[in-house]
């Protein structure tokens, strides 16, 4: 009885115990401290998993920083504060984060645009966009049901007078709203590039004027006024080259429709 049933169990119990103990000792002696560091880095990161850094989430970015020494300034929502703390955890030099904010390339408020039809469906931009490119008279403009505002985790987007307005101070730069807009009106710009043409209408001046009095009519006044060759009209729409623009704001007063904002 003992030799046939109990002894084998005993032997394997002891074998298992001994090997388990050995492994436990080994794993504490040779413990990898990257796990602890990654944990610390992860706690500094904001944890919204926006993947602006190019990795699949905050966990993955923290892992990459610790294991593959990826640069610490890729987290835009975390900003300089997160970068500085990560640098001190990793013991490497601090790298400046280029802050980015979202910008809505449309200024067609309710008072300057008309409605094509009376929309009574689901109050969502992407749903409304399915019907004749949205209810607004401008096919390029903001629909104003706030799909972007719902995606924003920082309460930085508000629908004011029919268009989405972004609070530059609240915006963390996670770019979650960019993919939400069915009109692709939201783009990420650097925080310092504050002079932008707030219009996306590529129609000719006359057609733009009919649907929205705030729209760019491609008159090229700003192109001539700019001393730095920073503004060009492409496909009936003025575009500002952020790398050349000196933020002198000389073009803002010249624009007859007032679609250049700062």
């Amino acid at each position: 009885m003992f030799e046939v049933y109990i002894l084998p169990i005993l032997i394997f119990l002891i074998l298992g115990l001994v090997s388990g103990l050995l492994l436990a000792i080994a794993s504490t002696v040779f413990s990898v401290n990257t796990g602890k560091k990654a944990q610390q880095v992860r706690e500094v990161l904001p944890g919204i998993n926006c993947s602006v850094c190019g990795f699949s989430g905050c966990d993955e970015y923290a892992k990459q920083i610790v294991q593959n020494s990826v640069v610490t300034n890729k987290c835009i929502p975390g900003g300089d504060k997160a970068s500085r703390e990560i640098s001190s955890i990793m013991g490497i030099e601090f790298e400046d984060v280029i802050e980015k904010v979202a910008f809505v390339y449309c200024n067609g408020t309710k008072s300057v645009t008309k409605e094509k039809y009376d929309y009574k469906g689901t109050p969502s931009c992407s749903a409304c966009n399915e019907f004749y490119s949205g209810k607004g008279s401008c096919d390029f403009g903001c629909i104003g049901y706030g799909d972007c505002a719902q995606a924003c985790g920082y309460d930085a987007i508000q629908i004011i007078n029919g268009i989405a307005v972004i609070d530059r101070e609240k915006c963390a730069g996670c770019a979650k709203c960019v993919t939400q807009c069915p009109k692709h009106l939201i783009k990420m710009i650097e925080y310092t590039d504050n002079v932008q043409v707030a219009c996306s209408n590529h129609n000719k001046g006359k057609e733009t004027r009919i649907c929205c009095t705030n729209g760019c009519i491609a008159c090229e006044k700003c192109v001539k006024a700019c001393n730095f060759d920073a503004i060009h009209v492409k496909r009936n729409l003025a575009e500002i080259d952020d790398s050349k623009c000196t933020k002198c704001e000389g073009c803002i007063g010249i624009c007859p429709v007032g679609c250049i904002l700062s």
Partner: protein, 196 residues
């Protein structure tokens, strides 16, 4: 001494675990893409084979045989092998993280690598004593290394070779592996002559 040399050389060449006994094919095909990871893998396998033999032989002869528990040897051996694989994994992760990453899943898979279990079981079957078992395990590990390094060289040539599209990848690799293994048949009967 002569006997040990025969065991060692025949374990490396004649009874090569990968190319003659066809054990441990999984890492042989999986980790032979680059020579560095092939060397690392082979070193890990040599260590596990040696340590597993050193530990399993006493366990078998002292714990299992006296009580007629030989039928439990596979379970006991797998337990010991798993222990050493885990140890290797912990140590590699700590000291050689690049190698740990390049080996990937094949490292924990040494546990189920039949070459390792094969060495320990064959030592018992062939009724080797302790020292012979250790030498056989060392030879088995070195043979594994030889096969992996040889084949990683073959595979690097294979990547540049112009072969038909439908043969590219695994088919060509398997054909090359079979040709390499055929070449090892040539060692049959050589060993006895070497140490006369």
């Amino acid at each position: 001494m002569k006997e040990m040399m025969i065991i060692l050389v025949s374990a490396i060449f004649v009874d090569n675990f990968v190319l003659s006994k066809f054990l441990g094919i999984c890492p042989f095909l999986g980790v032979s893409k680059k020579i560095d990871s092939a060397v690392g893998m082979s070193l890990a396998v040599i260590f596990v084979m040696l340590m597993a033999t050193v530990v399993t032989y006493p366990i078998y002869t002292i714990l299992l045989v006296p009580f007629g528990l030989e039928y439990l040897k596979i379970v006991a051996f797998i337990l010991i092998i798993a222990l050493f694989v885990q140890l290797v994994e912990i140590v590699l992760q700590r000291f050689v993280p690049p190698l740990y990453q390049s080996l990937g899943i094949y490292l924990p898979l040494i546990t189920t690598n039949c070459a390792v279990l094969g060495v320990t079981l064959l030592n018992i079957d062939k009724e080797y004593d302790f020292l012979q078992s250790v030498v056989n395990a060392l030879g088995g590990g070195l043979g594994f290394m030889l096969a992996l390094i040889l084949f990683s060289g073959v595979r690097q040539r294979l990547q540049d070779a112009e072969i038909p599209q439908f043969f590219k990848g695994m088919p060509a690799t398997l054909i090359a592996a079979s040709i390499v293994s055929v070449s090892f048949v040539g060692f049959n009967g050589v060993v006895e002559g070497l140490f006369q």
